[in-house]
């Protein structure tokens, strides 16, 4: 089973590197969004706390424009049957989840580097808290986005439905990660953020387990 999951991940990665279906659009999206923030706050002194929130706004909308790709492209190109006839639904789910993890980590890395370089007041004091928040936030974001992508891939209005459906599901995660990023700017210690870490880990665990149980029903029909 693990080798099949890895095979689906590699297939998606190779396909993405070859077609650049999501990558180019995603990176351009990040550049445009950060530029918009810079233009709109030009001459203003924006606090680190506010910039923490804006960081997750950029991450959320970038993720919304790219993470649905794994399922939507299969549905659009009609290759869903190829996968349905090749393996169990859970293998497809975990393969796609793994790909979305890789995509969100790459995306977050790019966003954070761009953000640190362009936002003068965004100074992280507790880098460990910031990094853990970013990683766990990314895992939670990818977990919820993957199952929602599988649901909306069969709908006609995929583009608009995706962020609209995702937002209420992701709200508890986003509130926690924004809070954690703010704490990292203020210099909070790791032990002060234990509560946040518990929420983030529980969120991802619940979403992944629920997705695993429900995916069979979503995948076929």
């Amino acid at each position: 089973m693990l080798s099949s999951i890895w095979a689906i991940f590699l297939k998606d990665l190779k396909s993405e590197l070859r077609t650049r279906y999501a990558l180019n659009a995603l990176f351009m999206f990040v550049v445009v969004t950060i530029s918009m923030i810079l233009f709109s706050t030009a001459g203003e002194v924006v606090s680190g706390t506010l910039l923490s929130g804006l960081l997750w706004v950029v991450i959320f909308f970038s993720a919304m424009s790219g993470l649905s790709r794994t399922f939507v492209s299969e549905e659009d190109r009609g290759t869903v049957i190829f996968l349905q006839l090749a393996t169990r639904p859970s293998v497809v789910y975990f393969g796609k989840l793994l790909f979305n993890f890789a995509l969100i980590f790459g995306l977050n890395l790019f966003i954070v580097i761009a953000y640190l370089l362009t936002m003068e007041n965004f100074k992280v004091k507790s880098f460990d808290v910031f990094l853990v928040g970013l990683i766990l936030g990314g895992i939670g974001l990818a977990s919820a986005s993957t199952i929602i992508a599988a649901i909306i891939a069969k709908a006609n209005t995929k583009g608009t439905l995706y962020p609209v459906l995702s937002f209420p599901v992701l709200l508890p995660l986003l509130m926690t990660t924004i809070n954690m990023t703010q704490l990292s700017i203020e210099g909070a210690t790791f032990s002060e953020t234990i509560g946040h870490l518990r929420i983030l880990i529980s969120y991802s665990a619940v979403v992944i387990i629920a997705s695993y149980l429900l995916f069979d029903y979503i995948w076929k029909e």
């Binding site: 689906i8 590699l10 396909s15 290759t79 049957i81 190829f82 006839l85 393996t87 076929k220």
Partner: protein, 217 residues
């Protein structure tokens, strides 16, 4: 090994539209079934139900091996499927498509097997070309290679010779004959000649007209 597919009172409707009702048959190794009917009679819907790609509205499809029921999630191990609506990854080459499939299926020593099926469908010389550059007939041949890669017990062919040239049609007939010897063959078609590939025929139009009358076996 005793392998059996049973359809019991299978019905499919999309909302109020009844596609077919009370389809009953049993297929064992060595048997072959052609599904006939006009356009829109539900041939593709029925083969999708048999392959587990769609669920019936009523009734059930049962796969059994040595008398034991096979979990629906494991049907894919026994099925080879060729259909016009089955699409391949056109950003990959023919060989890569087969390699991806072999890895996802968890096949061992698949390289020789891939070469063998590519030769069988006469695509070996074009194995390193992107599928994007394949003609529709070549894509159809590659679908056969994908379907045969794991030597399935059940081979399901929907419109088996579409887009194929005379040599391709001959290849399909040969594959069908070999499949009948070692497994189960199911063909959905509205071509009278292709019905000859199978020993038994179920006509979905007659099934509808005669209402609840079972035709096969």
């Amino acid at each position: 090994m005793d392998f059996k597919i049973t359809l019991k009172n299978v019905r499919k409707n999309f909302s109020r539209l009844l596609v077919f009702d009370s389809v009953n048959f049993e297929l064992t190794i060595g048997s072959s079934l052609a599904i006939a009917g006009k356009n829109g009679s539900g041939k593709s819907t029925l083969v999708k139900i048999i392959a587990g790609l769609l669920s019936p509205s009523a009734g059930e499809v049962i796969y059994q091996i040595d008398g034991k029921k096979i979990d629906k999630l494991d049907w894919f191990k026994y099925i080879g499927f060729v259909a016009p609506y089955l699409q391949l990854y056109d950003e990959f080459t023919g060989y890569e498509n087969l390699e991806i499939l072999a890895r996802i299926r968890g096949l061992k020593n698949y390289k020789n097997k891939i070469e063998e099926v590519l030769k069988r469908v006469n695509l070996y010389a074009r194995r390193d070309d992107l599928v994007r550059g394949y003609s529709s007939g070549m894509k159809q041949r590659l679908k056969y290679a994908c379907a045969l890669l794991h030597e399935p017990i059940v081979l399901i062919l929907d419109e088996p010779t579409s887009n194929l040239d005379a040599e391709g049609v001959e290849m399909v007939w040969k594959i069908a004959q070999e499949q009948k010897k070692k497994g189960i063959l199911i063909v959905a078609t509205n071509e009278a000649e292709e019905l000859q590939m199978c020993e038994e025929v179920i006509n979905l139009d007659e099934l509808k007209l005669k209402s609840r009358e079972q035709i096969v076996k």
